[in-house]
Every structure is written in structure tokens, then in C-alpha cells.
């Protein structure tokens, strides 16, 4: 059984910078469409935000991020119970039984025949795309050089908008505790950019979720024509209707609001998770 969730966020100020700077302007990651430019939050950043939230909620993770590594590992990550700076030295060698096992695993080495060096994730998340075009707003900021007591002015792009993204679980491959921790993390994600002031808080406003027996059968997708301005209520009924028109009906499609929808989604999905 698969669970797919489409989330349209509350209005937020996008600051997922480090796309690429232009001069002294920090730019947002974006995509170009025939009708304008939309900003994008990378799926990698969303997964990282989920990891941070899961760790904050007490999840036992095989890979810890740089902000929670007890050894202050300069490489940024530590692996296994021995906090190894590399995957090769981690103990245990794989994330089996840890909450982040659902994100997949790869040990970067030459394939050795039948030896398993990678495993597909039971959970995947798409990039988050803004629901309105980018207006090119800039924030004027000043950076302090540590070596010299002087301020260096720079600008950073900002985009006040909602974001929409899709995530899917293969419930048969994730245990109940890990799934619950990951799903609960969707209540509030701090999707970071290059700087501590650049975290975009992504919280769900409207949630569409569905359980489906076959992969890829959720039918929940937002197109560029679905525009949800930050100062207007979100109406996902059209998306729900489009999904139903292509035959997505197993267990129905549930439209919910904020945390209540996350709660009901978890409750419905738990019986299909890997038990034991």
C-alpha cells in the first residue's frame, strides 16, 4: 500500500538561497515557465528539514546532521552509533532499524556482485514549487567580516508565497514508528538556505492525501495553472476532482486542513505499515 500526500503550505517567506549568486545578490532557486518565474525548494532541502525535525522529536537516526553531531565532525555528517565521519567506517554498517532507513541508503563503492551497497528509499519527496510567480523582491542585508570590523552590504532575494509539494511512502517498507516520526515532521519544516536567517518555515495549510495499492496512482498534482496567492484561501477541490476523473478512488481522497489532516492521514496509514 502506498500513501501519497499533496501539501499546499501556509504563506511563507522563501529564503532557500544558494541557487547561485549574481554579484552580491543571493539568488533563490527557481524555474522558468512561459508565464513567469517560480521559486523552488529542493527536495533534498525538504528531506534535510524532515531529518532535523525527526531528530528534534527524539528519532533514532543512523545519519546525524552537522548541527547534532556530538563530535563536531567538520565533514558535516556522522554515521552509525560510533559517529563515524564516513559511511565506510560506520557501525552498524547500514541504517536497518533506524528511523532514517526509509530515506534509502547508498554506500558509495563499486558494485560487488550480489553485495547490497544501496537500497531504495521507502519515502520520496518532490521539489516544492511556489504557487505564485516570483516578483523579484530583494532584502538588503549586511554581513560582518570576522577578520575585519566592517560591514559588507549584500542583497538576498525573497519570495512571499505558498509552496506545494508531493510525498509518497511505500508503507509496506517502513515501520509504524519511523513512519509516524516522518509524517509528524511534515507539520512544520524549517527548510534552510545558506544562512541561519534563511530558513523558510513550511507548514501545511491544505492537505490532500490518498492511499493507493498501485504505485504512481495517486493522481494528485498541481499544475502551473493552479495559482494559490498567499492572501487568498486555498481551494484544492479542482485537484481532487481531476484525480477522481482519472480513476483514483481506492480509499478515496481526503482533503484536510493543517494538523488535523496529518493526524487522520497517520491514523489511516498505520495499519499498512510494516508491523513488528
Amino acid at each position: 500500500m502506498y500513501l501519497t500526500v499533496l501539501i499546499v503550505s501556509n504563506p511563507t517567506l522563501a529564503a532557500n538561497n544558494r541557487g547561485e549568486g549574481q554579484g552580491n545578490i543571493q539568488t533563490l532557486q527557481r524555474m522558468t515557465t512561459p508565464t513567469g518565474s517560480r521559486t523552488v525548494l529542493n527536495g533534498v532541502s525538504i528531506k534535510r528539514a524532515m531529518r532535523d525535525a525527526m531528530i528534534a522529536n527524539g528519532a533514532r537516526m543512523w545519519r546525524v546532521n552537522d548541527n547534532s553531531d556530538p563530535k563536531g565532525n567538520p565533514a558535516g555528517y556522522a554515521y552509525g552509533d560510533n559517529a563515524s565521519p564516513s559511511i565506510a567506517g560506520a557501525s552498524p554498517a547500514t541504517p536497518d532499524g533506524y528511523a532514517d532507513d526509509q530515506f534509502g541508503f547508498m554506500k558509495a563503492e563499486k558494485d560487488k556482485g550480489d553485495q547490497a551497497v544501496k537500497r531504495k528509499g521507502a519515502f520520496e519527496v518532490s521539489a516544492a514549487i511556489s504557487t505564485t510567480n516570483d516578483d523579484g523582491d530583494l532584502a538588503f542585508m549586511q554581513g560582518l567580516k570576522a577578520a575585519e570590523p566592517q560591514l559588507n552590504p549584500f542583497s538576498a532575494e525573497r519570495h512571499y508565497t505558498r509552496y506545494q509539494y508531493t510525498a509518497t511512502w511505500d508503507l509496506s517498507q517502513v515501520d509504524t514508528e519511523s513512519f509516524t516520526l516522518a509524517a509528524e515532521a511534515l507539520r512544520c519544516l524549517a527548510v534552510g538556505g545558506a544562512h541561519s536567517s534563511s530558513a523558510s518555515e513550511i507548514t501545511p495549510d491544505q492537505v490532500l492525501w490518498t492511499l493507493h495499492r498501485a504505485p504512481g496512482r495517486a493522481g494528485l498534482q498541481v499544475g502551473m495553472g493552479d495559482i494559490f496567492p498567499p492572501d487568498e484561501p486555498v481551494d484544492l477541490s479542482g485537484i481532487k476532482q481531476r484525480a477522481e476523473e482519472i480513476g483514483v478512488s481506492y480509499n478515496g481522497i481526503t482533503l484536510g486542513v493543517r494538523g488535523q489532516a496529518i493526524q487522520s492521514m497517520i491514523a489511516a496509514a498505520l495499519p499498512f505499515c510494516k508491523q513488528g
Partner: protein
């Protein structure tokens, strides 16, 4: 014969070969998912391992021009030869990515297996969510249709000279080379035949 519509949020189809990591630059994408990627997608949908989808032919293309295009910044491991560089070095790279991709795929052969897969009646031992391209290229819809409709700038992948793409994927590091063929993107015609 069965025709499928496939929608995905994003699409990045890495051009194999020397990466852009040395220049911290752009990881290029093919203009459309290569046939090897489509084959792997169908195999994953049907719960098959790589190379098991035999005695089956398919043709495919975009139903419409992708809704957007941009670059996503990710960190990638720097490899030398057959192993990552010592110290697990990663570098930022920009991945050229399509957004809002909409495919059509017409398959001739074991269509019963595809029907069973669409009904959720096949066992996918490897499992996991369905994607077309990389793991972040999540497939949100795959469903059967009677005929292909051009939704604006649709195309069909045909033999040609415009782009060389893998017909059979390689496994890298001298294990198996990819089989490359030359293709072109022809304007979509209604009800293409295999």
C-alpha cells in the same frame, strides 16, 4: 497494446560521462527521458528487475512541453575511477531539471502485466515510490488512456540524428557499457503506432 499517461513533478535525466563536478558547474540533462529510463520505469512499475521486460516494444514522448525548466542545487560525491575520493568529498552541482513533465507511453507486448500493475496486483520486491528519472522525480499519476492527445508541443521519440541517448543503460565503471542510439523528437501525431 496499451497507452499510458505518466505525470511527474520534475525530470532530470543525467547525461552519462565526465561530470561537471570539476568545474562546479551544470549537470546536463537529456531533452527527454532516454529509452533506457522509460524501460526501467516500466520494469519498476511491473515489479521486474532490470532487463526483465523482454518481448515488449514501446514508443513514447511528451504530451506537452514541460511546464518549466530550472536548475536545482545539490551536493554530489566526487568519484575517482571506481570509488569516491578519499574523505568523502562532495561538491555543489546544478542539476538541469524539467518541471511538470507529462509523458505518453504506448506499449505492445505483455500488456496484461501492465494492467495488473496498474491495479496493484503485482509484487514489487524492490518496491518504493515510483519515479521516472532520479528518485526526486516522483511520479504522481500513471493511468491508461485510449488515445494520445497533444496537449501543446507534444512529441514522439523517433530514430534520427538530433540526440544520442542510451537504449540500454550501462552500469558504470567498466561493468557494462550503455548501448547508445541516435534519436530525434518528432511532432506528436494522434494515435502513434509502435
Amino acid at each position: 497494446m496499451i497507452t499510458l499517461y505518466v505525470n511527474a513533478v520534475t525530470g532530470h535525466y543525467t547525461v552519462p560521462g565526465p561530470s561537471a563536478s570539476g568545474a562546479g558547474g551544470l549537470v546536463a540533462t537529456f531533452p527527454i527521458a532516454p529509452p533506457s529510463t522509460i524501460r526501467g520505469f516500466l520494469e519498476s512499475l511491473c515489479g521486474l528487475s532490470g532487463g526483465q521486460f523482454v518481448d515488449t516494444e514501446f514508443t513514447y514522448g511528451f504530451r506537452a512541453v514541460p511546464e518549466g525548466r530550472g536548475q536545482l542545487l545539490r551536493k554530489a560525491l566526487v568519484w575517482s575511477s571506481s570509488a569516491p575520493k578519499k574523505g568523502t568529498v562532495s561538491r555543489p552541482l546544478h542539476y538541469d531539471t524539467f518541471f511538470g513533465v507529462r509523458y505518453w507511453i504506448t506499449v505492445q507486448g505483455d500488456t496484461n502485466l501492465i494492467q495488473k500493475a496498474l491495479n496493484g496486483d503485482v509484487e514489487r520486491k524492490i518496491g518504493g515510490p515510483l519515479y521516472l528519472g532520479e528518485s526526486f522525480d516522483l511520479v504522481t499519476s500513471v493511468y491508461e488512456v485510449d488515445a494520445v492527445q497533444d496537449e501543446g508541443g507534444g512529441c514522439t521519440v523517433v530514430p534520427g540524428r538530433a540526440v544520442v541517448m542510451p537504449w540500454i543503460s550501462g552500469r558504470g565503471f567498466g561493468l557494462r557499457n550503455a548501448v547508445m542510439r541516435a534519436y530525434a523528437l518528432a511532432p506528436l501525431r494522434a494515435s502513434p503506432t509502435v
